[in-house]
Amino acid sequence: MGAGDYRVHAVVAAIPLKPRIRVACLTVLGIGIEFARVVAARDPALALPALLGGGLALCLLAVGTPPERLGLGRDRLPGRLLGGAALAAVLLLPAAVRWHGGPELGTGWAVAAAAVSIGEEVAFRGALFAAIEEAAGGPAAVVGSTLAWTVAHVLSHPPSFLPAVIGAGLVLGVWRWRFRDLIGPILAHVVADLAL
């Protein structure tokens, strides 16, 4: 075997690893950004910047991934928006049945909540989902993105809330897989966070 053959063999062998490495990097970075913004937000003076910065940082994880692979294509827009409305109704239904009122968000907090919602969808069900799907297929992407999203909520949510986070992750993840759409999950996530 000549030196040229060895080089070619090494490059080819590395190709199947690339998606897995991307999955690992996106998982660590996504969870790390979420943990960092939660820890930073424990200082009341940093709470708002942490939410806005965290949302932006999560969105940056999708840089380099084509919009279509993220589920952000412009086709089927009416259906995607309608899907978002349906998903929002599902997410809000348990709270709506027992609702007695909730916090009133100022504009700054509402923008920050929307930023985090969009960032989480773009990072976990956008970039990470696409990477896992490429490496291991759609069902693995649903489960993997849901697990990563749930772990990312460990610091911000009490343990009793995590099953609902898993459930919401599965709903939004299966929608993303089934319809190759991220606009619906983004819309639903933003509406749910602002409404609650």
Partner: protein, 247 residues
């Protein structure tokens, strides 16, 4: 409909059922971006929150009088984080340098009738071994539960007193908290005056969900009908949604 489509739709339905079951177990439901700090610990929980309620915790902290004769800035919390008060340097009258001042926070079960005020939080009594310095303000912050109407102000009374008075609302607190500046320590709770006419958002969420359902049904039906009239095309797990493919 192909087998893969049926499988993914069944998975979506199953996921919805799993979610609704899990969200039902945590009143009032799913929270994400601005999550509440945890289940609120009530001294006397409303009916919705009785199941699994834990009693609220008290708290205390100490501060040493510094060499310059002042007590440095600080914050005292309850151990569950539901109530706190903060002070700036010189906020309390300082005993002799080197002595220790103790601050305590205690949830109370019995308190004077708040009259026209509907309280949304526990009532906490804050004490210290030295009084607030003249002209200084103490920042009182109270957390309230997810699923109750947001209180409009912090109210308080002096220990041993019977009259509640409105302390205020700084209006820039983090979600699920309300803050106000007080001129002295005492007992505090957050609530809303029944006669203030302040609207509570209690009816907003059910209306929003109802509107979303109507929107999906009214707008989705024509899209489904158009889809059904089309000749069937090759379909797979990643095909557009029935309602979306005609958009």
């Amino acid at each position: 409909m192909t087998r893969s489509r049926r499988v993914t739709l069944a998975a979506l339905l199953l996921a919805v059922l799993v979610y609704i079951g899990a969200a039902w177990a945590i009143p009032p439901g799913f929270f994400d971006g601005l999550a509440p700090p945890g289940p609120y610990r009530w001294t006397s929980p409303p009916p919705t929150f009785r199941k699994g309620n834990q009693p609220p915790l008290d708290g205390h902290t100490t501060a040493r009088v510094e060499a310059d004769g002042k007590i440095g800035p600080g914050t005292a919390f309850t151990r569950d984080g539901q109530a706190s008060f903060s002070w700036s340097a010189g906020g309390f009258k300082a005993p002799k340098p080197g002595s220790v001042v103790t601050f305590r926070l205690r949830p109370v079960r019995t308190f004077p009738n708040p009259g026209p005020v509907h309280l949304s939080t526990n009532v906490y009594c804050f004490t210290s071994t030295t009084p607030v310095a003249r002209g200084q303000l103490i920042l009182v912050t109270l957390t309230y539960a997810a699923g109750v109407p947001a209180p409009t102000a912090v109210y308080g009374y002096r220990p041993g007193g019977t009259a509640w008075q409105r302390i205020g609302n700084l209006g820039d607190s983090a979600p699920f908290t309300i803050s106000a500046n007080a001129t002295s320590l005492g007992c505090f709770g957050a609530g809303t005056e029944k006669s203030s006419g302040a609207s509570t958002p209690a009816g907003d969420l059910p209306l929003l969900v109802a509107a979303l359902i109507v929107l999906v049904l009214l707008a989705g039906l024509p899209l489904v009908l158009i889809r059904l009239r089309r000749p069937p095309a090759g379909a797979g797990g990643g095909e557009p949604p029935a309602s979306a493919s005609d958009g």
